[in-house]
């Protein structure tokens, strides 16, 4: 029997513990100051912070973060390059799979994707992958452009991309690099889709989107703005008369839903789409430098609890509202908005009225909004799915004084393309039906679709992932000419 002393002597020495480095916080504008301007809320890491954060990555042999990313960025690879201070190389690596890193670094819900599965997250905060992605993209923008990739010789194939949102831009970027001619048809006068009309300047500076679009144009993508497909040309005309070999539809879900309550037609009631488009795309916040007016409202109610609602209510504050409210019928924990956006809104002074449902918009004799009648809600008994749904508390009506109401409760697909393409199958909810999301093949030969027009409103990165999948399927279709009939068999 060994003595106790001997045992202690022979026991393996514990490895010296590497001191835990905390997740590096994101520098931000002061909440009080930023609530009055449209400048970026988050300021981005310093080089020191980026390198420190990169050292937290333990470089897993089988990283979970990569499959956690809808476009499968080589996350450990680029983070290692950040650690080595090879920032341009890191940007180059990210751009191999993600055309819009500066965008995704800012608006992707990493906490639900790559960071949600980071091994570090089991015991401490996960690596700030999104913040590092943003850092390398911003570094590249500031310190030099990545040289354009060498393109293969032209194939002679023509691709039409309908919609210059994140899905469409991804498809265009992928297919131009396969040697095809790619033309994007964008209904608005600027490319970017929701990135330019939906997400405010303080969350995503528009110069970043412009830079990414310019990069595509330098690659050779043709951009036709002010082209409403379904009005100027139909999908059939693009294919039969204009010689396009394949079409990708990425026209988004831009048809706003209203509440169908009395008073919704009063002056001062906006869809979030209109409110945000006026401000973001048309730069109403910079009137008269830009020729789009927007009335300064004192009390603004934004209905909804998603990211669009947060963008709207924070814009209302910045446009000079004394009081900006979120009116949400459920509890905070059910809000689909990113936690970061909810926190930012709260810190900036947004007032949250949760478990509150609007039932009537009140107005004056001139037809302008004067108030919002609401009901207090409570959570009912769990239903068969276990969900406790909000139900109104009888007699709990109350009125909030308002002069504007912004409705951000969801959108559906604009029906224009479907109406002018009769053989394009739609699903029950009116979105384009695809074979599956890994191909984006529609019911119409040579036509693919992806992003919100297929899934309903989702995230930028999911639209990009759908674009990547569709681009691969288009390439396959162009090479083989094979299509899939609805019974799953191949046809030519």
């Amino acid at each position: 029997m060994m003595s106790e002393e001997k045992q202690i002597k022979d026991a393996p020495k514990p490895k010296p513990k590497r001191p835990k480095i905390p997740r590096q916080p994101m520098p931000e504008q002061d909440a009080h100051a930023r609530a009055k301007n449209f400048d970026s809320v988050t300021l981005g890491y310093t080089m020191e912070q980026a390198v420190t954060e990169a050292t937290r990555c333990i470089q897993c042999k089988k990283p979970l973060c990569v499959p956690g990313c809808p476009v499968a960025i080589d996350i450990p690879g680029f983070i290692q390059l950040v650690k080595d201070k090879e920032f341009l190389k890191a940007a180059q690596l990210v751009k191999q799979t993600n055309l819009l890193p500066a965008v995704c670094g800012r608006v992707c819900p990493q906490e639900e994707q790559c960071e949600a599965v980071c091994v570090l997250g089991k015991k401490q905060d996960p690596v700030a992958i999104g913040r590092l992605e943003r850092y390398v993209a911003d570094y590249e923008a500031e310190h030099g452009e990545i040289p354009l990739p060498e393109l293969p010789s032209k194939t002679g194939k023509k691709i039409a991309v309908v919609g210059a949102g994140p899905g469409g831009l991804t498809v265009a970027g992928d297919l131009i690099q396969q040697g095809h001619d790619v033309t994007i048809f964008e209904a608005l006068h600027k490319a970017g889709g929701v990135l330019v009309y939906g997400i405010p300047e303080f969350r995503l500076p528009k110069a970043i989107v412009e830079r990414e679009v310019e990069y595509l144009q330098r690659l050779g993508v043709e951009l036709k703005l002010n082209h409403v497909i379904g009005k100027i040309r139909t999908i059939d005309q693009l294919m039969q008369e204009d010689g396009y070999d394949a079409v990708f539809i990425g026209s988004g879900a831009g048809l706003p839903w209203f509440m169908d309550i009395p008073g919704e037609n009063l002056n001062g009631v906006f869809s979030a789409n209109e409110y945000l488009t006026r401000n973001n795309l048309m730069k109403a916040f910079d009137f008269p430098a830009y020729d789009t007016p927007i009335k300064k409202f004192k009390n603004v109610a934004v209905i909804g609890g998603g990211n669009v609602a947060m963008d709207s209510v924070r814009s209302a504050l910045r446009l000079g509202a004394d009081n900006a409210y979120i009116i949400y019928r459920r509890g905070r924990e059910e809000m689909p908005a990113r936690t970061e956006e909810i926190d930012h809104a709260e810190h900036e002074g947004v007032k949250f009225k949760n478990l509150t449902a609007p039932v009537r918009v009140l107005g004056n004799d001139e037809g302008w909004v004067t108030g919002l009648e609401c009901l207090q809600m409570e959570l009912g008994e769990p239903d068969a799915s276990g969900r406790r749904r909000p139900i109104p508390i009888k007699g709990s009506e109350f009125v909030l004084e308002m002069d504007a109401v912004v409705i951000a409760i969801g959108t559906s697909a604009n029906p224009l393309i479907a109406q002018t393409t009769p053989d394009l199958a739609l699903n029950r909810k009116g979105y384009i039906e695809v074979e599956n999301e890994t191909t984006g093949r529609t019911s119409k030969k040579g036509v693919f679709a992806g992003g919100d027009i297929v899934t309903g409103s989702a995230t930028v990165i999911l639209a990009m992932g759908a674009g990547r999948n569709a681009a691969n399927a288009i390439q396959d279709y162009l090479q083989t000419g094979e299509w899939w009939s609805s019974n799953g068999s191949a046809e030519n």
Binding site: W257, D260, E264, G380, R389, G410, A425, R428, G430, E433
Partner: protein
């Protein structure tokens, strides 16, 4: 309209279900897309089940009918009236159907107070509960869709 006899009420309820079946079937025929057609046809099928249930009602069935608490989410109750327009979005189709169930339920609830006999009262309560079930199914579908979108 007289609800003096048990059979008067049953006849009326069957007629209302027949009207609902016709409404949804015609709406389906006016839709361009298969998916919207199917949604309306599915609603028509549900009304057919009600019609079949009501056609076979007799006082004994009603006497044995079990009442239970059906949750009322009241999603449609504060909405304005709506009508079918071909091509209307999915959420509007749900709103239309929810509103119809709300009206049917309210009508039967009002009738409970109007009739004298216990048998007639119980029959109207039963009809109201049946409409409440449909309303809850539709409002749950609607609430799920809206919750996901941020409402």
């Amino acid at each position: 309209m007289s609800f003096a006899r048990f059979s008067d009420i049953v006849t009326y309820a069957v007629e209302k279900e027949t009207e609902a079946i016709r409404f949804y079937t015609e709406a389906s025929q006016q839709e361009q897309y298969a998916a919207a057609k199917e949604t309306f046809l599915a609603f028509a099928e549900e009304e057919k089940k009600h019609k079949a249930l009501f056609e076979n009602l007799d006082p004994q069935v009603v006497a044995n009918y079990k009442f239970r608490n059906i949750a009322d989410l009241k999603r449609s109750d504060y909405m304005v009236e709506t009508e079918h327009k071909p091509g209307m979005p999915y959420v509007d189709i749900l709103r239309l159907a929810m509103k119809r169930e709300e009206h049917a339920k309210k009508f039967y609830d009002d009738c409970v107070a109007l009739v004298e006999g216990d048998e007639q009262k119980k029959l109207f309560q039963m009809l109201s509960q049946e409409e409440s079930k449909h309303k809850l199914i539709l409002e749950t579908m609607y609430d799920d869709t809206m919750a996901k979108a941020g409402d």
